[in-house]
């Protein structure tokens, strides 16, 4: 049995900092492993060897390439479906029809329901279908595997990290509770004003429509967001503001698909936390923090798999019930 706590997972999704385990929370066999690792002098030496090896022989980020291919393919399917008139995936990411079957983005649907205060059956079908789909696939999986803004933001992040290394820019982290507040504010605004206020600035919707129906001045807004992330705050939109991410995070909180951490093989190098969009979900990999031999990573995880790629000891793996160590 792996350790997971829905309460902590959701609290951290909403912006609470991860907390250290209280002494009573760690089972004796786990505590023993923590103790062994602390006293094992060879561990640091092993990390050095391993990281030197990695630096000399940079392994390809296989999962990242696959994920980009999927993300591009999904968005391309929307585009080609319209351009070639094959009617396979009609609409945009906010709402669509796949082979005639309704799908609706959960956050867009929520905005419409709150603003319009009336729900037609097609929207119910679309919302339920997408809810089940992303619950199964892990909630924020939508972000890293489908959202077109995520891909641009990843490229902006590469630039940011490179510039930060050259000391040209500096990351300004923010309070993650901002996203929860923004989610509430946008929901309230939709309810009170009767307009889908968030859709006006949603880079996901703007980009999806620009790809399918052609570019417009709305792309300037997306450009400004990316510039903000390159020069001021790393991944600021996805980390601290996007209500879509929070909506899908809540949906995926109880998802069967997740990233699983295996304590015994971990050297605690911290390579995973360096690449993670939401490093607070990997707090458990810090030596002494794990509450079980195996720990399920929390709801804010986008299942992007960068930690799975980055981990030199394969201590982080995708997990689907009955699959063992899936996706290795």
């Amino acid at each position: 049995m792996s350790y997971s706590s829905l309460k902590d997972s959701v609290a951290e999704l909403l912006g609470r900092d991860p907390r250290k385990p209280a002494p009573g929370e760690v089972p004796p066999e786990v505590k023993a492993i923590h103790q062994d690792k602390r006293t094992d002098k060879s561990r640091i030496a092993k990390i050095r060897v391993e990281l030197a090896e990695k630096a000399a022989n940079k392994p390809p980020e296989k999962l990242r390439r696959k994920r980009w291919a999927v993300l591009i393919a999904v968005n391309l399917l929307f585009v080609l479906s319209y351009w070639l008139d094959i009617q396979l995936l009609e609409g945009a990411l906010t709402a669509s029809r796949f082979a005639g079957f309704h799908m609706a983005d959960l956050n867009s649907a929520l905005q419409v329901m709150l603003a319009f205060k009336h729900v037609v059956i097609n929207l119910v079908i679309g919302t339920v279908t997408v809810f089940i789909l992303w619950w199964l696939l892990g909630g924020r999986t939508f972000c890293s595997w489908v959202c077109p803004y995520h891909l641009l933001a990843e490229w902006a992040e590469m630039l940011h990290v490179w510039l930060a290394k050259k000391k040209i820019v500096k990351d300004h982290p923010m309070d993650r509770r901002m996203r929860t507040i923004a989610w509430l504010v946008f929901a309230l605004l939709a309810l009170l004003t009767g307009y889908t206020v968030y859709e006006t600035i949603s880079p996901t919707g703007i980009l999806s429509r620009a790809l399918i129906y052609g570019p417009g001045v709305a792309l300037i807004w997306v450009g400004l967001l990316l510039a903000f992330e390159v020069f001021y705050s790393r991944r600021a939109w996805c980390r601290y503001l996007c209500p879509i991410g929070l909506t899908y995070g809540l949906v995926g909180a109880t998802s069967p698909f997740k990233v699983r951490y295996h304590l015994s093989s971990c050297f605690h190098e911290g390579e995973c936390r360096k690449v993670c969009l939401v490093p607070h979900v990997l707090d458990t990999v810090i030596l002494g923090r794990a509450r079980g031999l195996e720990v399920d990573i929390g709801a804010d995880c986008t299942r992007c798999g960068r930690c799975v790629d980055a981990c030199p000891t394969s201590s982080l793996t995708f997990h689907f019930p009955g699959s063992g160590k899936a996706g290795e």
Binding site: A95, F116, L123, G194, I201, Y240
Partner: protein
């Protein structure tokens, strides 16, 4: 030693305060930008002709999920999505009738059927039930019929890319207007191409669209009324007008003699769409 600890503490609390402050500014900034989207709406910078079945403007903006499925099904590609300069209306469909009007060549109101949220209400089944707006004659003096003139050639010139369905040419596929030149003793294009008038004529000939009697419009939409006995006539808009915009699109005069008024009709409609 104690001094150093105090200093470090002060520095870290200062850091936390800064972090909190920039988070609040960032959040407020994003919400602020989103709320700017209200300006074009409340200022009515643009009044758009919306697709068939559209709810009245305020409800329409609320109900539309900005997906463009209506755009994709339209056979004459009359529907476009608005850009960010329309604020809360970004991604919301509109029709520029002069460039390409809705000629109901899909018969079944495909855009209404495609709408996933009911922003284009499913309570409209036939073209004559649509209430997008109403046609208005704006500069009658320029009208060819009013001047007693005929019309020969391409209605909108050789470069016009708009399409119409001419049932006598092709029952199923709309063709370019420029590929269908006219030769008229007195210009009656607005009446001749009116989708409502075409349906009324078909029904009178015993051939309603798809053989469905319910497709027959109960009221006329437009007629040419004699001014005097010299043969001059003027266009008059009637109660059956649904605001589809075909008369505005086909009018050969520049600027068009008839334009769509979308503001009043839908907003004051007591029907399903209000």
């Amino acid at each position: 030693m104690n001094e150093n600890v105090k200093k470090a503490k002060r520095r870290s609390s200062q850091k936390a305060r800064r972090r909190f402050l920039r988070s609040v500014l960032y959040g407020a900034g994003a919400v602020g930008v989103a709320l700017l989207g209200y300006l074009p709406v409340v200022g009515q910078w643009l009044t758009r002709l919306r697709p068939p079945g559209a709810l009245y403007e305020e409800k329409f903006l609320a109900a539309c999920i900005k997906c463009g499925q209506c755009v994709q099904v339209c056979p004459v590609e009359a529907i476009h999505l608005a850009d960010l300069d329309e604020g809360f209306g970004v991604g919301v469909p509109y029709i520029d009738a002069r460039a390409q009007a809705c000629d109901f060549s899909c018969d079944g109101l495909q855009c209404v059927l495609a709408c996933p949220t009911g922003a284009l209400t499913h309570e409209v089944n036939y073209p004559h039930q649509v209430d997008m707006g109403i046609a208005r004659v704006v500069n009658e003096g320029q009208c060819l019929a009013v001047q007693g003139k005929g019309f020969q050639g391409q209605a909108r010139g050789a470069d016009f890319t708009g399409k119409l369905r001419y049932a006598e040419v092709d029952r199923w596929n709309p063709i370019l207007v420029r590929d269908h030149p006219y030769d008229l003793a007195l210009c009656d294009l607005c009446v001749r191409q009116c989708p409502i008038e075409i349906r009324i004529a078909d029904c009178a000939a015993g051939k309603p669209p798809s053989g469905d009697e319910r497709q027959c419009p109960p009221q006329h939409a437009i007629k040419l009324e004699p001014i005097d006995d010299t043969g001059r006539k003027r266009p008059v808009i009637l109660d059956g007008c649904v605001g589809c915009g075909v008369c505005e699109m086909i009018c050969p005069v520049e600027p068009a003699v008839i334009v769509m008024d979308s503001s009043e009709s839908r907003a004051s409609s007591k029907g399903l769409r209000a």
